[in-house]
């Protein structure tokens, strides 16, 4: 490129300077206005590969019924009559929660209704008991077995609890009700809360807390709605009587807190970056017009953000976090233009000389982010749009608009052809030292583990996390230690039948004690009909007569009357009559609310199991070949995320590397020299990992993104130094690279002031990585060029 095109365009722009200013201001105003409408997504959903199991798990958790649950814990400071005070406060609070934002409030259960409703399951035991249960009963139906049964019943009568059990013993000598109640108990304990029921209220074991379970109409994805619902609830909690305090536990507090943290961080980071860049430019160039160098990438970033937002309704906050980083990278173009004009007598001519290298530099840097387009991670895609647009807009503004506002220097430009770098005398020794350091760093780097626990990237405020810890100390762990097996279907009965089949396999794989499912107490209509038939056949097949005889014979030995167990036989077949599922049974409604969901018009059942690798693996085999069932496990989530990210990052890194290498090769046209240019990139990435290992910090999603950027920027440094080695430009070249590194590190380092762990993590990786890339480029490239490149 001889620059003639540039000169033609620039001369036209020079003649229409006011028009350019007007257009620029209009563009800025439009972009600024559209920024108001931008919605940022502070969840990590956008950072998960599309259609990956990880994304499916996250989507499931987001749309699951429990994501719209809010728990309020009330605490009585005074222990005297704490229960009474709490119950009164709870009732008043529940009554005050009348709002379209709150769809349901449960402060406890009406005990009499609940007792009657639980009895429903006992009545229909014949439809609930499995073939295994019948086999178990059958195994007891002999003289020895029934002798044991009646002895147990007799001893039970002699104990204190026997004061109320005569009726239950008569109608249920085989303790069938206990089997059903045991399963109901397992279902209720799967909620995971350590709770007792007193006076129709949830009361903690210490007797000083009560709990209200709320459901909100506000989904977790609605940050604005979450803010409204929290504000409403906090207002109601502020009206609690003296001596009673309330705390909230729900996903919405995380959403709002994350948003607050990010907003605060962006304010701090962008302000700090602005101040730092302004001080740097003014201090270094001693010229007010140097401020324009800062304004060019800032303006470009605003416009790029507005354009990116046009394509994506929800932008990941990772994108905005890269704003100052991009400013630190892209300001190099403005600096080059500024320096060229200041050292020339004609601004068009001065800029013409640097059009080609600046454009080449911008394109090489763009290649880093271009690779993100090939990623399946939406956040990377957004990042690619934003960064590429920012870089390209900056280079266009720097070359064509910035010169309009700069005044040329008085002296004609002089070319300094003195060597920029002098290869050291002991190049080979230095290379050996580097090789040793590289090996050491590689060893340290291998110790770094990938931490896929995405909760570590949660920017929730410490007071909220402390409130949750306090809550767990009082009420137990909730659902945190449970994994979920979800089964999907288009119809209610269909999904229930599928669940029955999976329940059977799951129990065979891990045992009934490890797997909690509604199928254990209320299976599908089809299964209940089958079991009712099996029950009838079981007893009609001579066992009714046999059991009568055995109970009479063995019972007499313990003093039981001949007709002691007649009520059992009188109602033996009552529970086989099929009934429609009751809609007002409080127990069943509560269980269905927890175990059955209807996301997106489909039906989905949830079963719970301990989130341990062993159980997870065993159940994984059960659903392995099914497309209608999957497991959501925090333990497994780690491995799934790790796999997803490792694959994505390796692919994206390879692509980025390839694109950069090809771009670099196009400019260098030599494989050895290209490898020399790449050396800072490998050094910085290995060094970065080594330092993270020494700091004991694991690799996170945030590190991985910035790691790729570090890789690309380090190649940029390598290419610039290599260029300076091959085409001596005096000390200016060293200064230019140093200045570029300083501004890039500065842009990244401001993120170290962020409170959000993801933003901090990005800042840390970029600061260390870019600094290492700069050091490696300044030290290693001249040495390598001295040893290997000279021959070329």
């Amino acid at each position: 490129m001889d620059g003639s095109v540039f000169l033609r365009i620039f001369s036209r722009l020079e003649r229409r300077r006011n028009l350019v200013i007007g257009l620029l201001l209009t563009l800025l105003a439009l972009a600024g206005l559209s920024l108001v409408r931008i919605r940022f997504d502070n969840t990590l959903d956008l950072m998960l590969p599309t259609d990956s199991p990880a994304q499916r798990m996250m989507a499931f958790l987001r749309t699951a019924n429990f994501s719209n649950k809010i728990v309020i814990s009330l605490e009585a400071k005074d222990t005297a009559d704490a229960r009474g005070t709490l119950m009164e406060a709870s009732d008043k609070l529940a009554a005050s929660l009348q709002s379209p934002l709150i769809s349901k409030v449960i402060s406890g259960f009406s005990a009499p209704d609940l007792m009657a409703d639980a009895g429903f399951f006992l009545r229909y035991a014949p439809q609930i008991l499995t073939a295994n249960d019948l086999a178990l009963m059958d195994s007891e139906m002999n003289s020895g077995g029934i002798s044991g049964v009646v002895q147990r019943l007799y001893y039970q009568l002699l104990k204190p609890e026997g004061m109320f059990m005569a009726r239950a013993i008569r109608s249920d000598p085989l303790a069938i009700n206990q089997m059903i109640l045991g399963r109901l108990e397992k279902l209720s304990t799967s909620m995971g809360y350590d709770v007792t029921m007193e006076g129709g209220h949830f009361i903690s074991r210490d007797g000083r807390h009560t709990m209200l379970l709320l459901e909100t109409t506000v989904p977790l994805t609605d940050a604005s709605g979450a803010r409204k619902v929290l504000s409403f609830l906090k207002e109601q909690l502020s009206r609690l009587p003296v001596g009673i305090t309330g705390s909230l536990v729900c996903g919405h507090t995380h959403v709002v807190s994350n948003e607050d943290t990010i907003q605060r961080d962006l304010g701090v980071v962008l302000s700090l970056a602005s101040v730092a860049f302004i001080i740097l430019y003014i201090g270094f160039f001693r010229d007010k017009r140097a401020l324009l160098i800062f304004l060019v990438p800032a303006l470009a970033a605003v416009v790029a953000l507005a354009i990116t937002a046009l394509f994506f309704p929800r932008l990941s906050y990772f994108v905005i976090a890269f704003g100052p980083v991009i400013a630190g990278i892209a300001d190099d173009y403005g600096i080059a233009v500024y320096v060229a004009i200041r050292h020339g007598s004609n601004r068009a001519e001065s800029v013409r000389h640097i059009v080609s290298p600046v454009t080449a530099g911008a394109l090489t840097t763009t290649a880093i982010f271009f690779a993100f387009f090939f990623s399946r991670i939406p956040g990377y895609y957004q990042l690619a749009w934003f960064c590429i647009l920012s870089l390209l807009l900056t280079v266009v503004l720097a070359l064509y608009v910035l010169p309009l506002f700069l005044k040329p220097g008085k002296t004609p430009e002089e070319h300094d052809a003195s060597p920029s770098f002098t290869p050291p005398r002991q190049s080979r020794l230095l290379l050996a030292v580097f090789a040793v350091l590289f090996i050491l760093a590689t060893v340290l780097a291998t110790r770094v583990k990938f931490d896929s626990d995405i909760t570590r990237l949660d920017g929730t405020a410490p007071d909220i996390l402390k409130a949750e810890d306090d809550f767990r100390a009082v009420w137990g762990t909730g659902e945190r230690k449970e994994a979920i097996l979800a089964v999907m279907g288009n119809g209610y009965e269909e999904v229930r039948e599928k669940t029955d089949a999976i329940y059977k396999d799951a129990v065979a794989a891990v045992g009934a004690t490890q797997f909690v499912s509604l199928a254990s107490v209320w299976p599908s209509g089809k299964t209940r009909a089958e079991r009712a038939r099996a029950w009838t056949e079981f007893w009609r097949d001579g066992r009714e007569v046999k059991l009568r005889g055995l109970l009479a014979e063995q019972g007499a030995a313990c003093g039981f009357a001949t007709n002691a167990f007649e009520p059992f036989f009188e109602h033996l077949y009552d529970g086989t009559i099929l009934t429609d599922e009751p809609v007002s049974n409080q127990v069943l409604v509560t269980l269905k609310d927890r175990f059955i969901q209807t996301p997106n018009g489909r039906y989905q059942t949830l079963s719970f199991f301990p989130d341990t690798p062993e159980v997870g693996v065993a159940l994984g085999r059960v659903v392995k070949d099914r497309t209608d069932a999957f497991i959501v496990s925090r333990t497994a989530m780690g491995a799934i995320l790790s796999d997803a990210f490792t694959g994505e990052v390796v692919r994206t890194s390879l692509l980025a590397g390839l694109l950069i290498i090809v771009t670099a090769w196009l400019f260098i046209r030599s494989i050895p020299l290209t490898l020399i240019a790449l050396s800072p990139a490998f050094s910085s990435v290995v060094g970065l990992l080594a330092i993270m290992g020494l700091m004991g910090r694991p690799l996170t999603v945030a590190n991985l993104i910035s790691g790729i950027v570090v890789f690309g920027l380090s190649i940029d440094f390598g290419m610039h130094i290599l260029h300076a080695c091959r085409h001596p430009q005096g000390l200016h070249a060293r200064l230019a690279v140093t200045f570029a590194a300083i501004t890039t590190v500065m842009g990244a380092a401001v993120l170290l002031f962020a409170r959000h762990p993801a933003l901090y993590s990005i800042g840390l990786t970029l600061t260390i990585g870019v600094a290492l890339g700069y050091i490696a480029a300044m030290w290693l490239v001249p040495v390598l060029y001295g040893v290997f490149g000279g021959r070329k």
Partner: protein, 217 residues
């Protein structure tokens, strides 16, 4: 059920309602208040008991003999001596029991055992005269015509107890300081009569009463 197991809120609530909570009519308030005041002054009780269960499912009445100790606010010892040996000690919410058929001590939390919780709370309420706790689901009628005043509790309509219990009759000693008999009559005709003898009030209870496993076993 294992000790320390998380409480099943569903079952807890289910069994909670077994707890009878009584209420007294205005006419009997003075006698009830007098009897309650009398019992309220009793912080410790040691007594022997004979429990006679006349149940339709048994061929003959079963007689259970044992010892009872109550120490306010939260300790209860229940020892069965005949026809089998069985001990139960409740301290706060921790319940320990031993019986000679298994020879083992079982420890459990009341919070995790709704059935026991109901039973124990009921026993506590009766034996310590916590009428305020016993006065929500039952109507109470006091009879002071004889030398031994009685209170007859009948379940209120709509209460769960109404399905099972016909009435509960507490008979007091002549000095009105403690209960002499407790009679539970069920709707099925079953009845359980507990007679308390050799009751010692407000004396130090020997430590052995709180040992769940009998000595020498």
């Amino acid at each position: 059920m294992k000790a320390g197991k998380r409480v099943p809120c569903l079952l807890t609530s289910v069994f909670c309602l077994l707890t009878p909570v009584f209420s007294a009519s205005a006419a009997d308030t003075s006698l009830l208040a007098e009897l309650q005041k009398s019992l309220a002054g009793t912080t410790n009780v040691q007594s022997e008991f004979i429990q006679e269960k006349t149940l339709s499912l048994l061929q003959q009445t079963v007689v259970i003999k044992g010892r009872l100790a109550v120490e306010q606010p939260a300790r209860l010892s229940w020892q069965v001596l005949e026809p089998i040996r069985y001990n139960m000690v409740l301290d706060g919410t921790v319940l320990k029991q031993w019986d000679e058929t298994t020879g083992k001590v079982q420890t459990m939390s009341l919070a995790g055992n709704p059935v026991f919780k109901v039973v124990v709370n009921q026993l506590r309420a009766w034996f310590s005269g916590q009428f305020d706790l016993l006065t929500q689901d039952f109507d109470a009628r006091a009879e002071a015509s004889t030398s031994t005043p009685t209170i007859i509790f009948t379940p209120k309509e709509g209460s769960f107890a109404v399905k099972v219990i016909q009435r509960v009759v507490l008979t007091f000693r002549e000095d009105r300081r403690y209960i002499q008999t407790l009679l539970i009559e069920e709707r099925t005709g079953d009845r359980t009569l507990m007679t308390f003898t050799q009751s010692i009030l407000n004396a130090a209870i020997p430590p052995a009463a709180w040992e769940v496993k009998p000595h020498g076993r």
